[in-house]
Amino acid sequence: MRRLGLRSVAIFYLVAILLGPLAMVFYRAFEHGIHPLWSSLTDPNTIHAFRLTLEITAIAVPVNTIFGVVCALAIVRRRFPGAGIVNAIVDLPLALSPVVVGLMLFLLYGRSGWFGSWTSAHGVQVLFATPSMVIATIFVSLPFVAREVVPTLRELGDEQEQAAHTLGASGWQTFWRVTLPSIRWAVIYGVVLTTARCLGEYGAVAVVSGHIEGQTETATLRVQDYYENFNLTGAYGIAIVLAVISVLVLTAMTLLKPKESA
């Protein structure tokens, strides 16, 4: 009885918070048939927004994957002083509101900011352009790989690496042949979470992008754009595409992951 009660609470909660709204989005998108949905999605500015989101994701994910693995190794293996501080700082983007992140970048790269005067002197447009959006996205999606890899590395211990050293493997060989294969599922899971975060990022990007239609508008900003212009079908349509991409990535990972990763 008690278990049944707990289960229904969990299911009710999921339906109310997650599945209900998602179903509503699907329903509303197709409310007026496929045609208005299709024309909203194939609008050149919408296509550009999707492409920009994918471009930013394609840069931010590899950067944060490499950084996350290096960071996790530094935190767990403690090969340098100050590893504890790094461990704390990695979580900062989770604690900061993305809008605050955007504002920080705005102040740094603005015309009178620390870096802004240097970049504009060298003719590089950071704010209201792709670079600032990439930086903002990297910042907010930074912790995921490290957060997944750190506990796995801890559990793994360093005996296998030491064994590899005594067998003649250099640090680099040990990383590629022993460490990375052992943490690969944590890395992949981190990559999936990072990708989802990058695709969905809104707040920080909204602040630094300038929100220029067809130029610095990402898919999530495009949703807002449609919504404010009463094109609800278009807004729901983009939302669906973003949701489907995320579900596909999650499903692909679940299918790829072996039942027992011994």
Partner: protein, 324 residues
């Protein structure tokens, strides 16, 4: 390859793991580092392997200074207590690891791996993963992996510590035989005195970061350097302020100046041996060991009063040359 350790000290925070330790291991020997946990034996082994670096002191391998040499360049094979198997590789890939790192030709690698799998009796297990092996099989795989690149020194850190008693006994015999075939200089760490005495030519007894005594097994037992070695290697009891072996004490009914009264609490029959647990007249417990025949002759019964006689000749913890 000979190993020399000169005046090595190592500290972990406030814990002095090794305190001015010196040790010589002859080329081709089979040496045990024996001691209780925290005695520094594993740290010493890891320093020889290059997995730890000493704070002070020197390590020489084959006469060459190796104190700061990377573990990759020492030509040592290392076996860990918990196997350190590469879990994502098959048994065959585990064993081949050191050879592939050295970029040996594929045919040679295959031949060497086959040879080693046969040596550790794991033919037919080559395509399994470590998770599909028993503890004993995993440790044999780890041994094969360590031996594959033909190391000049084989170092084993509590190699049988995680295995059950029967597998331990098997692997001990097997290690002994392996050594007599290959004559690779071998050093293994253990906290089990029986294991050390049974397998090694030479036993180094360690305690609290220091070497207490390094000697052949029978010398450790017959001529322990101090009370620690006496109590750690073999049984010892205190009688009249002296440490003695339980079998050196004698039970008798004839009183003289070397005997003391005791009450017999319990008689334990251990096959060939009989162990008597007694309480001396001052209330301290003591154990006396004798053969079954001796016990039968005395017609002992629990609860009775008997006399304990200390060994005829033993001075200051040291046994004289001739033991009565």
């Amino acid at each position: 390859m000979s190993i020399e350790v000169h005046n090595v000290s190592k500290r972990f925070g406030s814990f002095q793991a090794l305190d001015d330790v010196s040790l010589d291991v002859d080329s081709g020997s089979l040496t045990a580092l024996l001691g209780p946990s925290g005695s520094g034996k594993s740290t010493l082994l890891r320093i020889i392997a290059g997995l730890e670096h000493p704070d002070t002191g020197e390590v020489r391998l084959a006469g060459e200074d190796a104190t700061v040499l990377a573990p990759q360049k020492r030509g040592v094979g290392f076996v860990f207590q918990h196997y350190a198997a590469f879990k994502h590789m098959t048994v065959r890939d585990n064993v081949a690891f050191g050879l592939k790192i050295r970029k040996q030709p594929k045919a040679e690698v295959r031949a060497r791996v086959d040879e080693l799998l046969e040596l550790v009796q794991l033919q037919g297990f080559g395509h399994r993963y470590p998770a599909q092996l028993s503890g004993g099989q995993r440790q044999r795989m780890a041994l094969a992996r360590a031996l594959a690149p033909r190391p000049k020194v084989l170092l084993l850190d509590e190699p049988f510590g995680a295995l059950d008693a029967r597998v331990r006994a098997e692997l001990r015999v097997w290690l002994r035989r392996l050594h007599s075939e290959t004559h690779t200089t071998t050093v293994f760490v253990t906290h089990d005195q029986e294991e050390a005495m049974e397998v090694a030519d030479r036993v180094v007894v360690m305690n609290a970061g220091r070497v207490e005594q390094a000697a052949a097994p029978h010398d450790l037992y017959d001529a322990p350097a101090n009370d620690f070695v006496m109590t750690f290697v073999g049984d010892a009891v205190r009688f009249d302020g002296q440490l003695v072996r339980p079998h050196e004490l004698e039970l008798t009914y004839d009183a003289d100046e070397t005997t003391r009264e005791a009450q017999l609490d319990r008689i334990v029959h251990l096959g060939f041996e009989t162990r008597c647990e007694l309480t001396l007249d001052d209330g301290s417990p003591i154990t006396v060991q004798m053969t079954r025949e001796q016990a039968a002759e005395l017609e002992l019964a629990p609860g009775q009063i008997v006399l304990v006689r200390r060994p005829r000749v033993r001075v200051g913890g040291e046994l004289p040359d001739v033991v009565g």
